[in-house]
Amino acid sequence: MQESALFEYVLRLSDDSLILAQRLGEWCGHGPILEEDIALTNISLDLIGQAISLYDFAADLEGKGRNHDQLAYLRYENEYKNVLLVEQPNGDFAMTILRQFFFDAFRLPLYEALMQSPEEQLAAIAAKSVKETRYHLKHTSEWVIRMGDGTEESHQRAQAAIDHLWRYTHELFYEDAHDQSLQAAGKVPSMAEIQAKWMATVTSILQEATLEIPKNNWKFDGGREGRHSEHMGYILSDLQYMQRAYPNMEW
């Protein structure tokens, strides 16, 4: 039970990383300034690296002889367990940065907590990833502040992105029986603890950016259970294209 709970847990982390990396990769060559083209692809690259380590670990836990590419490329849509937030379209630069900011503000305290996990492999991946994530959060926080306190247009765009994405943020803290059994065993932190830290970061950065937390608290979820938005099928069409069109080949 614990093995399969941990597999599920690690798969969620992997899928979040992969799908967000896939989205960020779409920016390549189209960024608003060259420096941001580099920054967004760099974050994407870090997330791919994290996904490889996490999928490798998940594959070991599963023990069915699958490798990271088989997990990343050869599952059906409802077997991907990423949150809906990461599959949302890039939109404008404000939408991409806010999506990333909400995610980073969640990932940082999560990795910090997982570094203490008695699951050594998970703790090691968290320790490596935490440094990258700290940098990502710093980068996106700075842009949130710059947009919020920049021009009227940038303020409006940032606020519109927050208003749109807010409904997807609650799912970051999703918990089910898998999480609860791992928490009871002291292997992973409680999501309430992570959510409190996330809220503190979000509140302080949005305040500095003169942006507001939306009053509408309507929540969307489903990703963690494999129910995705319409966007997901298109993401997978691109992601899986080569593996599906040319099955069982080495690249």
């Binding site: 608003p32 060259l34 420096e35 692809t41 690259l45 920049g150 593996q243 690249w251």
Partner: protein, 312 residues
């Protein structure tokens, strides 16, 4: 000192292999030639991100995806150093980019060809970066200091790009018949455009003589093209790929490979904007600039606000 004396002293420096630095006196034409050449190179890096970037989401496995991301990111970095090198000559990045968008400045025509299959990504690394390296290794000794120094760093990364491209093709060529066919198809489409990357033949090159005298260029277009063909034939043999030129043959007397005449009409058509992707490439760059305008304005406005707060 008269203009003529300045020019003599300038040429003496060049002849003695002393690098020209941003604050040194230089003839206007030398400056213009460098601005044209370096900005063209910078634009090639940036436009070159598009055909490869379009495969990032479709890369066949996670390792290849990571390598491709890293490579395209390097290219953005090269664009940055080169735009900075142009700035040392007194032309801003903004101006340089505007010249690209207006069609005044050019970029390497190779990027006006489409990247249609995964094999194209390996082939671009092998042939296109390979051809670029032939040019760029020579540019590490170019007479203008900032350009030469930028090229040293760029060459190191480009040679990694070429190796990863070749390695990726090795995989295809030792794979299934479908993979091998994919690699051969990419070779067939990219061979001639890669040879065109060295520019017009020496007889038709308008800028060559003066550039060689100023040691901006060290070798002529045809010399570099020949070196590239000579180096590439053996690499193609190892892969088991056929170079699409029935006249390609070792010439013992010359000590070089002979090869067919390039289709210069196609070359000039693509330069003039009639390649398969010229319009799409430029449109993508213009769109990125226009859609990013509010981001750059926000950053500037924010920096001003913060500076005022600090001084208050």
């Amino acid at each position: 000192m008269t203009q003529a004396e300045k020019e003599i002293r300038f040429q003496e420096k060049i002849d003695r292999e002393i690098k020209i630095e941003p604050n040194d006196w230089m003839p206007d034409e030398y400056r213009q030639t460098l601005v044209r050449q370096i900005s063209q190179h910078a634009h090639s890096e940036i436009v070159g991100m598009l055909p490869e970037g379009n495969w990032i989401t479709r890369a066949p496995n996670l390792r290849r995806k990571a390598v491709l991301l890293a490579k395209v990111q390097d290219e953005a970095g090269h664009g940055l150093y080169l735009y900075s090198a142009v700035e040392t000559l007194g032309t801003s990045r903004e101006q340089t980019i505007d010249d690209l968008h207006s069609g005044k400045a050019k970029y390497s025509s190779i990027f006006n060809y489409p990247a249609l299959t995964w094999a194209d990504i390996g082939t671009i690394g092998w042939l296109v970066d390979g051809a670029a390296i032939m040019n760029q290794v020579a540019l590490c000794r170019t007479s203008y200091g900032p350009y030469a120094r930028a090229m040293v760093k760029i060459c190191k990364e480009e040679s990694f790009h070429q190796r990863q491209g070749y390695e990726s093709l090795m995989k295809l060529c030792s794979g299934t018949p479908q993979q091998k066919a994919m690699a051969q198809d990419a070779m067939n489409r990219f061979w001639w455009p890669a040879l065109m990357m060295f520019g017009p033949s020496d007889a038709d090159s308008t800028h060559s003589d003066q550039s060689i005298k100023w040691k901006i260029k060290r070798f002529t277009n045809d010399e570099l093209r020949q070196s590239f063909v000579d180096a590439t034939v053996a690499q193609a043999e190892i892969l088991g790929l056929t170079i699409p030129d029935p006249n390609l043959k070792w010439n013992e007397a010359r000590g070089h490979y002979d090869f067919s005449e390039i289709n210069w009409e196609e070359f000039w058509q693509v330069v003039k904007g009639n390649g398969p992707c010229n319009k799409e490439r430029l449109a993508a760059r213009v769109k990125a600039k226009e859609e990013g305008a509010w981001v750059r304005e926000a950053a500037t406005a924010f920096a001003k606000k913060r500076a005022m707060k600090k001084s208050a």
